[in-house]
Symmetry: none
DNA sequence: GGGGCGCTGTCATCAACTTGTCATCCAAGC
DNA sequence: GCTTGGATGACAAGTTGATGACAGCGCCCC
């Protein structure tokens, strides 16, 4: 399991160091910057799993960074946690409406912030925080590497496992073969697109074994998706 | 766009009524129960989009309900917002670690809670965040590549999908066949103008299936438009 | 070192579905 | 009624996905 990557945008150097220590201890990779513009750059390049954003930073305001992160396609889906000293409700709401996923009010303890990050990751990339993925009657345990369908064990090869895992992390979503190759095989794999078909077939065969409804939907000329309604 | 469904587990009747009023006004469907066991049942059957759970309820404790919701495959992915009177950090962390997605500390305003629910839904059902197009009773989800009319799924071929998408992106507007060819087939397609007619027909057939009103208006000697009054 | 054995990637083939075009029929406007 | 433009049904070609088979690897157990 890859370490979750966190981008911290904060100009209080003491706080950065404190958090840096705690996050590293909890097996996160943490990158930090005090500058809004740099934050935007880093967010695009480093593709963090979550951004922690101080509301009040030098240069561009936190809320502006938030808005711009949401506007860029590459970063539009990164969860954002706002750090704010203001406890007023209006601000909290404004933060959430701007597209922040959560906020934490200063003062806070590192432990609380880490729990928050964990909660956010559990939603967005469940594999990073939890050990358990589920969709419909499919369960995947990342620790024991076991998969069950309707309570019964399912035998999967490594590739099928990763493929299913990726689907479980983004249920319902359609992925093109290219995207699946990137996500499951790695960004620079030199593999035939059509090979994806074959693995989809193997995954289907394994997981739908015994008259079960197909959970993988083929979207013609678009790709595949995990979907309990299957091939309708 | 279907209304988001909220399950409220709360034993303070006055609060239930207050929230009920506000959520309904904001176009949510809200179901409420004061009982933990019943909550688990409802969560499995009604498949709500989000559960709001009071930490302190009669019978099973809120935290126990939370844990059990997470354990059941059918409900493992439902976001949970905890309501708690305790502001102490330890409790907040325990709530988040148990699997709650967020918590709100009493007292809170309905508006804040609704903003929270909105933030959570935006993460979990990206469909609600704007990856979705709608017009009249037609919904199109770009992420899952699904189209619904009046809640029921509609099966479309790739071209019909793109065609409908284009209409949904510019509802009411009339497009000549030339413009539709440019927009849907690509700028340099060498396709007969009349072919557009055929695809319009196919789209109509699929989306108006079963005695539904025609949503595509033919404008003689001009083109076609998406229009709920259809062919008037 | 030498079999099995399971996992992978690729292909050729088959099947299903899409799609562009036509000829024909129909409706609206004049 | 005639003309023009749109709707329809049929169809053949073209795409795209599903499948089964197969050879290459790497690994484990002899």
């Amino acid at each position: 399991m890859t370490k979750p990557r966190v981008l911290l945008v904060e100009d209080d150097q003491a706080l950065v160091e404190l958090l840096s220590f705690h996050f590293r201890r909890e097996e996160f990779e943490l990158e930090a910057t005090a500058d809004g513009e740099e934050a935007l750059l880093l967010a695009r390049e480093a593709a963090p799993d979550v951004v922690i954003l101080d509301w009040m930073i030098e240069g561009v305001s936190g809320i502006e960074v938030c808005r711009r992160l949401r506007r860029l396609p590459e970063t539009a889906n990164v969860p954002i946690i706002m750090l704010t000293a203001r406890a007023e409700e209006a601000d909290r709401i404004r933060g959430l409406e701007t597209g922040a996923d959560d906020y934490v009010t200063k003062p806070f303890s590192p432990r609380e912030l880490i729990a928050r990050v964990g909660a956010v990751l559990r939603r967005v990339r469940p594999a990073l925080a939890g050990e358990q993925l589920a969709y419909d009657d499919i369960e995947m345990d990342l620790v024991s590497h076991k998969v069950k369908r309707g309570g019964a064990g399912v035998q999967l090869g490594p590739t099928e496992f990763r493929l299913l895992r990726h689907f479980l992390e983004h249920p319902g979503r359609v992925f093109s073969r290219e995207r699946l190759l990137d996500a499951v095989w790695g960004q620079d794999s030199e593999i035939e697109l059509r090979t994806v078909d074959v693995h989809i077939r193997r995954l289907r065969k394994a997981i739908n074994a015994g008259e079960r409804a197909d959970v993988i939907r083929t979207v013609r000329s678009a790709g595949y998706a995990l979907d309990s309604e299957g091939t309708v």
